[in-house]
Symmetry: C2
Subunit: 200 residues, 2 copies
């Protein structure tokens, strides 16, 4: 232990940036496999082989397959998050909060119905609770909760946001589209009606 | 083929009542195993053995394990269905539709939180779509939809009922209780607020 605190800290920093590079390399390999075969077919073994690491490394880094898919999901959601936090209105700032809320739900329902949407395909693979607790799940909730607050609702914004998000879940939307043949436009109209009723 | 149409029909009736008896016997064996070990541990092999039939018979009758659990669920839900369709108000008829809707959601959220509730334990074992398409799932939906209609809402009652039901799902309620430590009373208060806002 002849290292000074300074050089130890350099060592730690180098180790952290190594870890970040490794993480990025694993996610890149996983993203490539997801793009090729769809997220439902990706296994931890394949990703480890493609990235040239042992399966143990992959599990240590992401916990399990859901953890890996959620890490990919959070990357895939960055663009949508940019759109609803900083993009043009009515989805982004500048429109009244109720219009932004209506627009947000319609956008999310549209994405769920879009087979080419990577975020939707990834999100569909992990259970409700894991998805809701993920970075993008918490962003959705916090966005809705903030808008409800801005709408001046004298409610439990936090819980009401959870209640509304449940209707925007894959479980609900996929069931209605696949089992009942409900077109996405009808789900979106119901969302807009629900938001309108909250404020009136 | 010397049988007259009359005797053939007697044969068919006898066969149907045999089938009904067999079905009841299989469900009884399954219910006993569920009561002993909880629905999450019941396997098709165990039920077949307990009922003294081959596994093939069980699969032919119920399709798969989810199908068997759903058949048990529909039996377990009969009492609750009686309560909200014919029991005392405000859950049953006699109270204003909005009060009945508030009461229905609170009752359902209370049942989800009750570890001793057999219907909740069974329902939790099957995926959202299968549960929503089951007899009791459809009864819940049709009850909410009817109440929304009686409340005079100028809305798509059918879809709005689905939207509201999503918040009453295990996926949503279990997540909030288990991951966020939200007490059931707070979920119930949010439901009541939501119903109140729909009508105001």
């Amino acid at each position: 232990m002849t290292e000074t605190p300074g050089s130890a800290s350099v060592g730690v920093t180098a180790e952290r940036s190594d870890a970040a590079r490794n993480r990025a390399r694993l996610l890149e390999a996983a993203a490539l496999l997801v793009a090729e075969g769809g997220p439902e077919h990706v296994t931890m073994r394949e990703v480890a082989e493609a990235a040239g690491v042992g399966k143990g490394t992959l599990f240590r880094r992401f916990g399990d397959r859901d953890g890996l898919l959620l890490a990919l999901l959070d990357e895939a959601e960055a663009e949508f998050q940019e759109a609803y936090t900083a993009g043009p209105p009515p989805l982004g700032p500048g429109a009244p909060a109720a219009d932004r809320l209506a627009s947000f739900g319609c956008a999310l329902l549209g994405r769920i119905a879009n087979d080419a949407d990577l975020g939707a395909a990834l999100g569909r693979q992990v259970p409700y609770a894991r998805r809701a607790a993920s970075g993008s799940g918490r962003s959705f909730h916090s966005h809705i909760s903030t808008l409800l607050c801005q709408m001046g609702l004298d409610s439990d914004h936090d819980m009401l946001a959870h209640a509304l998000l449940a209707f925007l879940s894959f479980e609900s939307a996929d069931h209605l589209r696949e089992e009942h043949g409900v077109p996405t436009t009808r789900l979106q109209a119901t969302w807009v009606d629900l938001v309108r009723r909250l404020t009136s």
